[in-house]
Every structure is written in structure tokens, then in C-alpha cells.
Amino acid sequence: MMQRITIDPITRLEGHGKIEIFLDEQGNVANAYFQIPELRGFEQFCVGRPAEEMPNITNRICGVCPEAHHMAATKALDMLYHVEPSPAVKKLRELFYMAFYCADHTTHFYALGGPDFVVGPDAPKAERNIFGVIHKVGVEIGRQVIAMRMRNHHVIQLMGGRRVHPVAGLPGGWSRALTDPERAEIEAIARQNVDFALFSLQLFQDVVLSNPVYKEMILSDAYMHRTYSMGMVDAQNRVNFYDGVIRVVDPNGNEWAKYHPRDYAQHIAERVEPWSYLKFPYLKQVGWKGFVDGPDSGIYCATPLSRLNVSDRMATPRAQEAFEAFYETLGSKRLPNGRYQPVHYRLATHWARLIELLFAAERMLELAMDPDILDPDVRPVVNTVPDEGIGCVEAPRGTLTHHYRTDARGILTKVNLIVGTTNNYAAMAMSIKKAAQALIRNGVVITDGLLNRIEMAFRNYDPCMSCATHALPGQMPLVVTVRDAEGRVVAHISRNEDV
């Protein structure tokens, strides 16, 4: 009989989620399962509504990345209404989207993922947060983090029309053109963003890579999985967050597939497990082999790390320098196909995220200086008959796909979303298992640090539980319950004292 350990992320939702770790008879980790609550009725909620409401409905399903949902929905409307956005519209949308990335990636590094390295993986919970980071790196850097967030939120509001939930996306268009003074303001903000991204990469070098303990942790087997990688690339196979084709490379770095987002259903299947409400996407043509990595398993990742892994290079110069330094430092060789061997150290995702931050900032600056960006003609008249639309962007947490069908009046008849986090669920379950294996051996559970090491394993994916289940975020306290072979509780660890 297997022993069971339960790590229970209690949100204030009913039917809260759990991490369950099953031990074998020797007391070693046999399996790790990740469950989260299911919110009900999203598709039913949408069906029967006009499709053009979707950018403003789906941006409400997540309080963290409403911009990503708004953009995927808007792109789905482009296809649904058969209207190709003008170059100016695409550039306005991408400019808006880069401001979002600048704010979001900054927040993840300084408030969520970074504390593991900046404050330390074994620091007390009370210090392992943005306050602890400020204490460690200084008030001036803390001010810059908040300034980075606030100036990019200002751009999001200016271009998206609203403070939190943007409303600017239209089929084939964008409801608001830019004036030249606004453009100049955004250009100045983008320059500051580039400086901040470069600074953040230097900080990563100084605080993380220069520390042998952290470097060893990044390179350790405990945080490595050799899965397939997925990400969006442009026509030159460079990272792109807004538009392009989906590229998948195998664990050795060979291109496995490259397809238009509208063909996702030919490439992605969803595995249903009896123990979870979640569906686990996998590569259909590789097949589901269980929660294992390697070239025979269809499990893939869609993260900042995997986006770098699928790309030949970065589209902007400073990000390209950082990209090369990343692979050289982590020991990747260039393959005959010109790409670097993929990096599979999952904790390197934090570094990859900062390289993406630099790319987003540089791209934002390019777009702010593009002559097309002031084109006032951004609201095309749409008089086509809608039918089916698929829209795809890279959300910070992975490839995000919206798929709608409507009747000839544009009333929704079918809605399917594959949100960023969902792509990574199988990989996250594997990461949790590996982290647990390092601290649970032969029936001995090292309770100190178990919680944080497991959290570290999934924090680098920055899972959006709420998003994957179509809810809003909340605090996610953790409770670890360790059970022996008879199901008796032998240990109880809680992150929140009140639980």
C-alpha cells in the first residue's frame, strides 16, 4: 500500500486544490499529483453572447494577465471576421503588449521568483517576498521596481483604455490611435525599461550566478527535465510574443513541429487523469507516456525557457547578447542547425525571463520609434460573415490560445481556451515529484525546507491556477500533510499559520 503526502494549496474557493505525493513501500516518492479547483460553466457563460464581447469577458477571467487574454481574444476576432489587421494596428497591439511584458516579468523576478535567490531559498517565509528583496538589495532598487511597474501600467492604461482590464481590441483593429506626444512619452518609458532590464540581468549575474551555491542549485539534477519545448517564433525563427508560428523542438534541440496556431488541434491533445479536474496537454504525435520526460514522452513546456529553446536567436541586439551568454554559461553547444542545445535546468527559467524582459523593452522602443505607429486609421469597418476564429499569443506563462465558433450573426456557439499555465501542468507535476524526491528518502521526510523546495519547483513556472481554472487569483497558502502507509498523518507543515 502506498503512503500518501498531501500538500494542500487552500484557496478560498470551494473544492480547493492539492499537491498529493504518494510514497512507495520503501518510503520513497512514487508519484506526485497536482490538483486545483475547477470553476464551472465558462463555456456555457460565453455561448449565446456576441463574439465581440470576448476580449472584455476573457480579460476578466484573470487578474494577472488580462492583457494576454484580451490580445488572444482580439486576434481570434481577426480570424473570425476575416479581417487582416493593418501593419499599424499590429504594431500598436504589440507595443501595448510589450509594456505588459515589461511590467509582468519585472514583477515575477522581484516579487515572486527572485526572492528564492536574492533572499535565499531557506530564508523564513516572512522575508521571502518583495519586502525581503528590498531589504537585501536596497531601497533605491525597490523604487525602480515599483517605478517600472507603474510607468508600464500607465502605458497599458493609455493604450488599452482602462486601468486594469483593457478594452481597445477590435476585430482587425485597435480602438485608439496614438498622438505624437503620447508616442514620445512611450519612447522615453521604453528607454528606461531597457536600462532597467540590463540592470536586472547584471543583478542576476552578481547575486545569483556569482554565488557558487545558487549556481550549483540551478545546475542540479533536482530541477532538470528533458522535455520538448514550445514557443512562438517569427519568420526568422526569433522569439515573438505577439504573432508568428508555433515551433516545437525535441529535448535534443531538433525541430519537431512548426505550425500555424490555427492548427493547434492537430498537434496538441489533452490527457484526462481521474485524479484531477485539469486536462494535461501533450504532443499528439509523440503520444502520452505518463509523467516522464525524454524524447518518447509527449510532455512539453511553454515557458520563458522553452521560448528561448525553440528560437534561433533574439530579434533585438542586447537581448541577443544576453541569449548567447545564457547558453554559453550553461554549457550548451551550438548544434549543426545553428541553434543552441536546449537548456533543461528549470531554475534557469528565471534567467530566461530576464532575457525576455530585455527583449520586450528593446522591442517596445523599436515600435515606439516606428513611423507606422502614428497611423490614425486603426478602426477598420467590418462587414464580413463570421464563422470560426483562433487567436494565439505568448502569455508570460506560456502559449495562450483562444478558439471560438459562431453562427452567421456572430453569436458564440463554441469556446475553447488553452491557457498558458495549462501547457505546463504535466511538467509541473514532474518538477514537484523531483523536488520531493530530494527531501523524502526511505521514509524519512525532511520537513524543513520541503515546502519551499516544492514551491520553488513550481514557482519558476509561475502557475496561474486561477487562470487555468478561469478564476481570479488569491493568496495560496500551502499545507503539507504527510501520511504513513495506513493513511495516518505523521507530519503537518503549514505556510499560513491560520490554516
Partner: protein, 160 residues
């Protein structure tokens, strides 16, 4: 503006929208009987973003949904920040992606941001927050006028 009222939550998720709907009721009441220097907004953010929405205000009133099974749905509670450290906070004050509200406020103050000392939270206990829908359940719907009245009483008591 010196006072900001922030209705939190997702109005598409059944009872989760109670904070936003209460804020709208407060806004309507203020349209009929204005109070000086009071502004009402809606947001579905927590943690750092919520803290940033408070910068520059002297007083903030938060209205949020609260899942607490020890109280019947539709119970209106008045909380302050120290209550958050002692009991499970309402739905939207923390962000799973960055920080809790107390941590975000501590960080903001450490950075010298101009944050209000006066922060009050009106929490309404909820039933269903897992089904998509635009209608509150009856007990929670019935609590909206009461919650709005409590917010208005708070504003008027302290602005006089």
C-alpha cells in the same frame, strides 16, 4: 481626491462580484448625495497592484468578497489591516503572483510611497464563487444595500 473606494472582485463569477456591485451602489448613492473628495473605482487585483492603487490617497475603503464558512453568506464585516494578519483574508487582497496586501503595503512604505494610514475593509461573506454567472445568490444580493449603507455611514461619520 483624498478618499478612494475600491470594489474588488470578478462580477462574472457569481458572488465574487459582490465587492464591485456594492461599489456601484455606493457610487449611485454618492451621485444623489455627493461627498467631497470621494472617488469610487472597481478593480480585480491584489497585492502590489492594489497597493499601487492607494498611492496618493489619505483614506481607502476596500469592498471585497469573503469566503468564510463559519458565517452565513451575506454577512457584512468591517475589518482593518491587523485583522488580516490574524485570520484568513478576503478574496482579493493578496496576489498569488506577488505579495499579500500587508506585505505590499510594508514594501511600499519602505520605499517612501505616499500610502494612506487609514485603510478599512468591508467584506461580505459569499456562497458561490466557482460558477460563472452575473447574478449574486439571494442572500448575498440582499446584503448589497446593507454593505453599501455601511460604507456610506463610514464615509459620512468620518467626513463630518
Amino acid at each position: 481626491m483624498t478618499t478612494r473606494i475600491i470594489g474588488l472582485g470578478n462580477p462574472l463569477l457569481t458572488d465574487d462580484g459582490v465587492g464591485v456591485l456594492t461599489a456601484r451602489a455606493v457610487q449611485e448613492a454618492l451621485a444623489a448625495h455627493p461627498l467631497p473628495d470621494v472617488e469610487v473605482i472597481e478593480a480585480s487585483v491584489g497585492g502590489l497592484r492594489l497597493m499601487e492603487l492607494m498611492v496618493g490617497y489619505r483614506r481607502v475603503v476596500l469592498i471585497d468578497a469573503w469566503k468564510d464558512d463559519s458565517l452565513p453568506p451575506g454577512t457584512v464585516c468591517r475589518l482593518n489591516l491587523s485583522d488580516l494578519e490574524r485570520r484568513r483574508p478576503p478574496q482579493h487582497l493578496a496576489s498569488a503572483h506577488d505579495a499579500t496586501l500587508p506585505t505590499a503595503l510594508a514594501a511600499g512604505r519602505r520605499l517612501g510611497l505616499d500610502l494612506p494610514e487609514d485603510i478599512v475593509i468591508f467584506a461580505v461573506t459569499v456562497g458561490n464563487v466557482i460558477d460563472f454567472g452575473e447574478t449574486l445568490t439571494p442572500a448575498v444580493l440582499a446584503a448589497v444595500p446593507q454593505a453599501a449603507a455601511a460604507v456610506l455611514a463610514e464615509l459620512r461619520a468620518r467626513s463630518s
